[in-house]
């Protein structure tokens, strides 16, 4: 058969010559290579003390944002839950009562807002879907835990801390 390209190279099996059969030159060569690595700087990042820097568009833990007056931006429209391909977000809407204007920006707010971190795939579609710029994936890596229910993060973990505290 005609070869498709003329790049085919026939390799012949050569018997080992004396020095190759004696192992020792090859061993010496190998030893010199490993010795070079002995003096090289290690590449380890010593994790808990030292962290690898994330890239600028790294998507980590979600945070629910507040506006410049410290009110929660989320209005529980549900677009994030709808856009979520992993169905990780659930919420219950609540109506803002009189006297709560300093807490919530709109008349409707998320009374319960939960993200299941075991379901979340950190795709960032929720932050793209949000019309109120209320959710961003700008946090760290999700920490470990022991039970599945502890990975369902509520508002206590998601909402940004108030401004003047």
């Amino acid at each position: 058969m005609e070869p498709l390209s003329n790049k085919r190279k026939l390799l012949e099996v050569k018997p080992l010559n004396f020095w190759e059969r004696a192992y020792l030159p090859a061993i010496a060569q190998g030893l010199s290579i490993t010795m070079k690595h002995f003096f090289k700087k290690d590449v380890t990042i010593r994790y808990p003390e030292q962290k690898r820097e994330f890239s600028e568009n790294f998507r980590g833990l979600h945070s629910l944002k507040r506006d410049e007056q410290g009110r929660e931006r989320c209005t529980a429209c549900g677009l994030c839950a709808l856009s979520c391909p992993a169905e990780a977000i659930t919420m219950t809407a609540g109506e803002r009562q009189k006297g709560e204007e300093n807490l919530y920006r709109e008349e409707k707010y998320a009374a319960v807002y939960e993200i299941n971190m075991l379901r979340c795939i950190f795709c960032g579609l929720c932050e793209e879907a949000c019309p109120k710029e209320a959710i961003y994936l700008d946090g760290d890596i999700v920490p470990t835990d022991f039970t599945r229910k502890d990975f369902i993060y509520g508002k206590d973990k998601l909402v940004e801390p108030p401004l003047n505290q």
């Binding site: 190998g30 690595h37 290690d42 590449v43």
Partner: protein, 346 residues
Amino acid sequence: MELSDLLIKLVLVLIIFAISLVVAMYSTYAERKVAAFLQDRVGPNRAGPFGILQPLADGAKMFMKEEIIPTRASGFLFVVGPSLAIMTACIGSAVIPWGPQMQIGSRVIDLQVTDINVGILYIFGVVSLGVYGIMIGGWASNNKYSLLGAIRAASQSISYEISMGLSIIALLMLTGTLSLKEIAEQQHGWHWNVLYQPLGFLIFMVCAFAETNRSPFDLPECETELVGGYHTEYSSMKLGFYLFAEYINMFVSSAVMATLYWGGYNYPGMDWVAAHAGPTIAPIIGVIVLFAKIFGFIFFFMWIRWTIPRFRYDQLMHLGWKTLIPLAIANIVLTGVIATLIKNFA
């Protein structure tokens, strides 16, 4: 022998025992550190500064682990195996001369537990006993992998002991004695045997690697084929004994290599040091020199381990029977011819 002499010997035995255990303990740490450095990593660094408490943590872990004796195993032999392995590893160091005679006050102390006139034979006997620990353990486990590992250990040890013995014969033709103390004394200054027996040393070292079951000859415990080899069924401190025995063996065979071929406690300029430092301090320097050589060899053992892949089993046998034994015999002939020529014409 007086009571005080007996006491001194006893103290010496305890010191050597303690030193070989500590060295073996820190060899496990050194092995992991060396491996890490050779692979651009850090190695254990959590237990204490630079991880120097790691061996203690490992030991504590070994003691805490559940001890399992398989129901189908032969209970008595299962315990005898690791005990024999560690015992033979520990008694090998009895005939090694650790330094020249030391003078404390008016008393002259030999830095050697016992100088028997067949020291090398004793070492050989102990080393070949060592394989029984592995064989018994592998057999008693009643496990195919363990048995295969044990068989490999036995045949490997038999094959390489021959060329090891033959390489020693060439050395003995030069030294004319089997006593390790006299061999060490003959290498005064820089008259190290390795200068006269380079090939013999090479063969001896390769065989020492095989005898201690170190890579590239670690087929008895080869993980990729035999799970854990002869110690597959072992757990807890019995496993610890097997692993520990390997490191003590490494220490002892390094000491033997240093004594037989690399001058033992001798170093160039030792007469000048002895004249200036006095009869108490100079031997201590000799001991330090010997230990430097031993640690050098231990490092070399580790360096080799993290460089070369394991031999295939047929390659191992091929190397042992068809390469090393003829080479060792040629070395004997060569040594004999050259020694005779020098004797008659020079």
